[in-house]
Every structure is written in C-alpha cells, then in structure tokens.
C-alpha cells in the first residue's frame, strides 16, 4: 500500500520525470538508477521520514533497503507499523 507513494517521492526527489513512471516493485534502484548516488539516498531518506512521519536510524540504512522499489516500500511499511 506504500508502493505508489514511495514511487512518487522517489520520482520527485530524483527528478526522474516520465522515466520514473515505468518503475514497479521489481525495478532495481541502487546501482541501476544513475540518479541514485549516495548523496541522493540521504535526500530520499529525509523525504521519506518527513512524508511518512517515521524516524530512520543509521542502522536501518543499508544497500539492501534500496535494492528495489519493492524493498524500499516494504521498509517504509515496516517503519510505519513499528
């Protein structure tokens, strides 16, 4: 249920525009999207924290979280449930 909102934030923050519309849960992110460098990841985390009203710890941030759009949305869902 968080997939669409997570996708919109990803598209907005990385300024992906039309190219971002084709992303789905299986789309790989880190290493696949040139826009998603390590600094962009930090910006994306901040946007997710504020949009979903969640607090993300240093320990939560790992490459596997950003492996795909689906894994990122699952992470948000888990944080919202926490």
């Amino acid at each position: 249920m968080y997939l669409d909102e997570t996708k919109t934030i990803l598209i907005d923050v990385l300024s992906l525009g039309e190219n971002g519309r084709h992303l789905d849960a299986d789309s790989p992110l880190l290493g696949a999207l040139p826009e998603l460098d390590s600094m962009a990841v930090i910006g994306l985390i901040a946007a997710l924290e504020e949009h979903f009203d969640i607090a993300i710890d240093d320990d939560d941030i790992s490459a596997s979280t950003f492996a795909s759009l689906g894994s990122l949305a699952d992470f948000v869902a888990a944080k919202r449930a926490a």
Partner: protein, 282 residues
C-alpha cells in the same frame, strides 16, 4: 491572479564590513499592501529552492507587496563563513532586514519562511521589535534535531550504504558527540559550528506558536491527499491552542530537495492567494 509584471529587483548590501548582508528587494507594483521578509532554508536547501523563492517574491511584488530576500550570515553572497553562523546572529540579520523594510512600508508586516527558515522566522517573531501581522510557512521543519540528523547523514552517505559498515564513524551519534565536545564539523562543504548545532538540537515548531495568524503550505504527492501526519498533528495542536492557522496542501515535488530545479506554479499561486486573503481580512 494576473501574470506577474516584470519588476526589476534591487540588489544591494545591507550593513558594512563583516555585517554585509546581500539583499534582493522586490518593490511592490502599484500601491503597497504590505511588506514581506523572506527567510531562506538551511545549507543546500537554500540553493535548491532559490528559483521558487525568486518566483514567489516576484509574484508577491506584482500583487503589491514589497518583498525583501536577505542572505543570512555565511550564506549565499553575504559576508562571513558558514562556520561563523549562529542562530542568534541569524535572528539579528532578520531584525536588520525587518528594520529596513519598516522604514519603507508602514502597512502589514509578514514573515515568510521555508523549512528551517520557517523555524527561524517563528523564533524571531516572538521577540521582534515590530509587530508581525502574519506568517507564511513553507513546509516548516518540525523538529530541529531531525533536521540536524538529516544534515549529519550527508557526511556518512558512503559509509551508511556499505553493508555492515554503519559503526565505522560512530554514525550520526558519533558526529553529535564530536559537536557536543565543542568540535566544528565539515559536512557537505559546510562548516557546522557546535553552537549552531546545539541551537538546532532544541528547536521544535510546536513550542514556537506565534501570536499572529499563520498560513502553512505543505506538499502532497497526489491531489486531494491529506498533509503528512506530523504536519497535520502540529497544525492541529496550534489550532487547539487558539492559533489561527490554515493548512494548505498543494501537489508539488519537495523543491528544496529535488536533484533538478523544480518550478511549481500551483504552489506559488496558492501562497499568493493565501496571503492576499489573509491581509484582506486584516
């Protein structure tokens, strides 16, 4: 709203020497309806939002407001290094900007702040020499500590993504410990003084309720969506405390954080309309 007239902005320095602050003044078209002082956000967010701030300043000037944009100490084209910036000194900059505006306009006085600039505006409004008649908040930071954490993470960007490497630098907690020990930190090209970090740490929007009416704009990711839960809660708390606050939501990318420069006409129009309506009642 009519298309903004192409009014030239006056660029000048307010103050001298180390107190030189770069200012852009947008004179009002026609008779003046009020004065607006813009308070920019923190570090890189200031650069990313420059375009939207300039467009809004022009739109408000075309609607009859005299708008002053001031670069705070150590920011933009003003004197001083970022490492010299202190929360209290930034408030003094706002006081200087407000004085300058009040010498030109005796109508309503409005503070308009984006992100951390919104908190600075609210904190300043509590002890301003001139009464503040209205506040326009753009996506205010709710907690200074969270904003600081997000800034500190920029220094850890690479390490945080390297699997199992999160403790190498002690993470954001390690950086906080260094700040608390009085050490300045270099973060994404900005030198952060421990005094400024300590001030950010304690800031909370909920404790900065102003005496005047508030118009508050929040981005949403799809039309008709509610504002983010944290913002909605904070606005409701203010309303319950008797503050006249209107929360406006606009579908808009977070332009202070986007990789590329973002323009959003709906956001600008909503801000102008909210302020005009507010001062019409005034």
């Amino acid at each position: 709203m009519n298309a903004p007239a192409a009014l030239p902005a006056d660029a000048f320095f307010l103050g001298h020497g180390g107190a030189r602050r770069f200012c852009l003044y947008h004179p009002p078209a026609g008779s003046c309806r009020g004065a607006v002082l813009y308070v920019h956000p923190f570090a890189e967010e200031m650069n990313r939002s420059r375009r939207m701030a300039a467009l809004q300043a022009r739109a408000l000037a075309a609607a009859g407001f005299g708008v002053l944009q001031i670069d705070l100490l150590g920011c933009g084209d003003s004197a001083g290094d970022f490492g010299d910036a202190r929360w209290e000194l930034w408030q003094q900059d706002l006081a200087a900007g407000a004085d300058w505006l009040r010498r030109r306009h005796d109508g309503p006085f409005v503070l308009w702040g984006l992100r951390l600039g919104a908190l600075l505006a609210l904190d300043y409004a509590r002890q301003a020499r001139h009464p503040v008649d209205a506040v326009l908040l753009w996506q205010p930071v709710l907690k200074g500590a969270q904003h600081l954490t997000q800034f500190l993470r920029l220094r850890l960007a690479g390490a945080l993504l390297a699997e199992g490497d999160n403790s190498v630098h002690g993470g954001t907690q390690g950086l906080r410990a260094a700040l608390e020990a009085g050490q300045a930190l270099e973060i994404a090209g900005y030198e952060l003084a421990p005094q400024l970090a300590a001030a950010l740490e304690t800031l909370a929007l909920e404790t900065l309720a102003p005496a005047c009416p508030v118009d508050w704009l929040e981005t949403v990711s799809s039309p008709g969506q509610d504002a983010a839960p944290g913002a909605a809660r904070a606005a409701a708390a203010w309303q319950a405390a008797g503050i006249d606050v209107r929360l406006h939501t606009v579908q808009c990318a977070p332009f202070w954080a986007t990789s590329e420069i973002t323009e959003n006409p709906a956001w600008l129009a909503a801000s102008s309309a909210a302020l005009q309506e507010r001062l019409h009642e005034h």
